[in-house]
Symmetry: C2
Subunit: 354 residues, 2 copies
């Protein structure tokens, strides 16, 4: 289970995890666009240890003024649609244009194993070697909420480190499409031609989140079928509410293999940014996203602090048994547990509760 | 700002709602099987006013030893499958057998209006008039969580009032199937024959929750088609994981109009109860349901108290604006709000926060 995100490594490797640094060192390193410091700052953000949590909060606070200047692009699509290939091709093209590209991902389903990192690195081999690109796999373990928070904060750190384009990929299946949509400006759905029955598998809801649909692998003998699918999608897209007010979602065709439609895709993204900036939709969505994010974090943090509370933990087994056996009403159990939790804050706050 | 804990009845009706009573009066009335007191106790439980919350908690605590002796049946199915008709027919049959029947419902989608209560009464006209039956429409408005809690507690009160069979119906479409499954012993899915395309609309997930499928309205010229559908369902049900360990979910046919298959349905439910009691699944599920319930309530209650907290409410507008404009990091905003919330409990607890 060796991996780059050192906080996730087994205890044996933890001690030499990283040198203890001050928040100023992290901030300075990120602003100086030092890749090692960028990676270590993301590791800090992913950490759950009480000291790291406080440090990370301070670092994020200091970096905030330098964030927000990128375009944030989400990429989703069914397995086999070629998400990583597209990100590599688009990313390499954009590096060639002089941009700095960060590729992040969200994968709440599986703990990150060695295979999956190698997978990521191998899949985006060319992009990974590019000095203007930074690739970071999904933070491992935990519920979607926690994984999404870490990715969202990693995105902010990358922005502070001067990355112009942030691409967040959904990995695996699951509910991560909505989580990614909630953190990006532009949401791209990849489709493939040979989907057959799998087209049924694409949730209609995901199409409604998309700002563009790219029919990918539209090369060789797939070209004709891709055009037909494009027409069908466009007819349908005219009937549904667009994901972004004032922007008509359309279907496009492209091939990473043949490097076709990539530049055109970037033109679409630039048009989208210009148009939504003009109408104010761009800034409004970012503000709404931040506030939604705050509410989600409040919900998670309240629960995390509750279940980490020592008094709650001490009382839990007996209360759980009494509720399970039907001798204690749920309402009363909750009331007692909440009283324990809240009254424990009457005294000096305990740092371990974080 | 969301607040589930506001009083649920419309302001006009609030004042004359009910006379002020002590918890002993409520408890005594319910245990004496007084229908008026049963209805008033459920109204108390549905109330969100601080005084009522404390009173309801005390009433529930005293009633708890008298709960749990019923069989709890959930009924779901697409609109038009005849859920109310079936409940009326089954309920009337069971009243005839000497049982006391309570019919509750969960409808998170629509606020309770006068029309919908009348609707319920009209739909189950015969059952509503029966002295052994008690019909209570869905608690109104608010998120599914709050509605489900109230229905679950109403179920407990009905049990304490001596009702032998509690039937909880899902009304409208939405996510209420899972909420009902989480509070009943036996979950019945109604299907109809002429569903046509609508069969696609039935979520496969709902079928996986069912302990029995009743193909309803299997009368007249529908008989043959119902049998065919029954065979198809049974073949498929053998391939999926049953909803209840050790119990094979099967499809049955029935008609409320012709009073066919109703007694057989009751036989299935009795077999289910006997078998799951024997294997211990019955009690285990009830224990698990109570603990899940507690965790759900904790989550909701933490948020309700947070958003109802005066210090949080005072600080909210400025913090929301700062987060929306990007000048305050979400993590820090949450930290500040949680500190405000938790520190407010250092002083004497404020009853209004409930």
């Amino acid at each position: 289970m060796k991996n780059e995100n050192q906080n996730q490594t087994p205890p044996l490797f933890r001690k030499k995890r990283m040198p203890s640094r001050t928040s100023d060192e992290f901030v300075k390193g990120v602003l100086q666009q030092n890749r090692t410091m960028l990676a270590q700052t993301i590791t800090l953000i992913e950490s759950g240890s009480p000291a790291d949590v406080l440090l990370a909060q301070d670092v994020l606070r200091q970096l905030l003024p330098y964030t927000g200047k990128s375009i944030r692009i989400g990429v989703t699509g069914p397995p086999g649609a070629g998400k990583s290939t597209l990100i590599e091709t688009l990313g390499t093209y954009l590096c060639g244009c002089g941009f700095k590209i960060a590729a992040l991902s969200i994968d709440p389903s599986s703990p990150r194993a060695k295979g999956s990192i190698l997978g990521d690195k191998t899949r985006m081999e060319k992009l990974a070697r590019h000095p203007q690109a930074f690739i970071r796999p999904s933070p491992s373990k935990g519920a979607l909420g926690g994984v999404a928070r870490k990715t969202r904060e990693a995105m902010l750190v990358c922005e502070a480190a001067g990355y112009d384009v942030i691409i967040v990929e959904t990995v695996g299946v699951g509910q991560s499409e909505t989580a990614v949509r909630a953190m990006v400006d532009f949401f791209l759905l990849l489709q493939m031609i040979d989907a057959g029955d799998e087209l049924q598998g694409i949730k209609k809801g995901v199409i409604e989140l998309a700002d563009a649909i790219l029919i990918h692998k539209a090369d060789g003998k797939n070209r004709q079928a891709a055009r037909q699918l494009q027409v069908a999608f466009n007819q349908w897209l005219h009937l549904i509410q667009p994901a972004t007010t004032g922007w008509q979602t359309k279907a496009y065709t492209g091939s990473s293999l043949c490097n076709e439609g990539i530049r055109e895709l970037w033109d679409v993204i630039r048009d989208f940014k210009r148009e939504t900036l003009r109408t104010g939709t761009f800034e409004r969505r970012r503000a709404d996203q931040a506030i939604d994010w705050m509410q989600t974090t409040i919900k998670e943090e309240l629960q995390a602090r509750f279940y980490a509370n020592r008094k709650v933990q001490e009382a839990w087994p007996a209360i759980e048994a009494a509720v399970g056996s039907g001798s204690l009403p749920v309402r009363q159990a909750v009331s007692e547990l909440l009283d324990l939790f809240l009254s424990s804050h009457r005294d000096k706050r305990d740092v371990e509760e974080k």
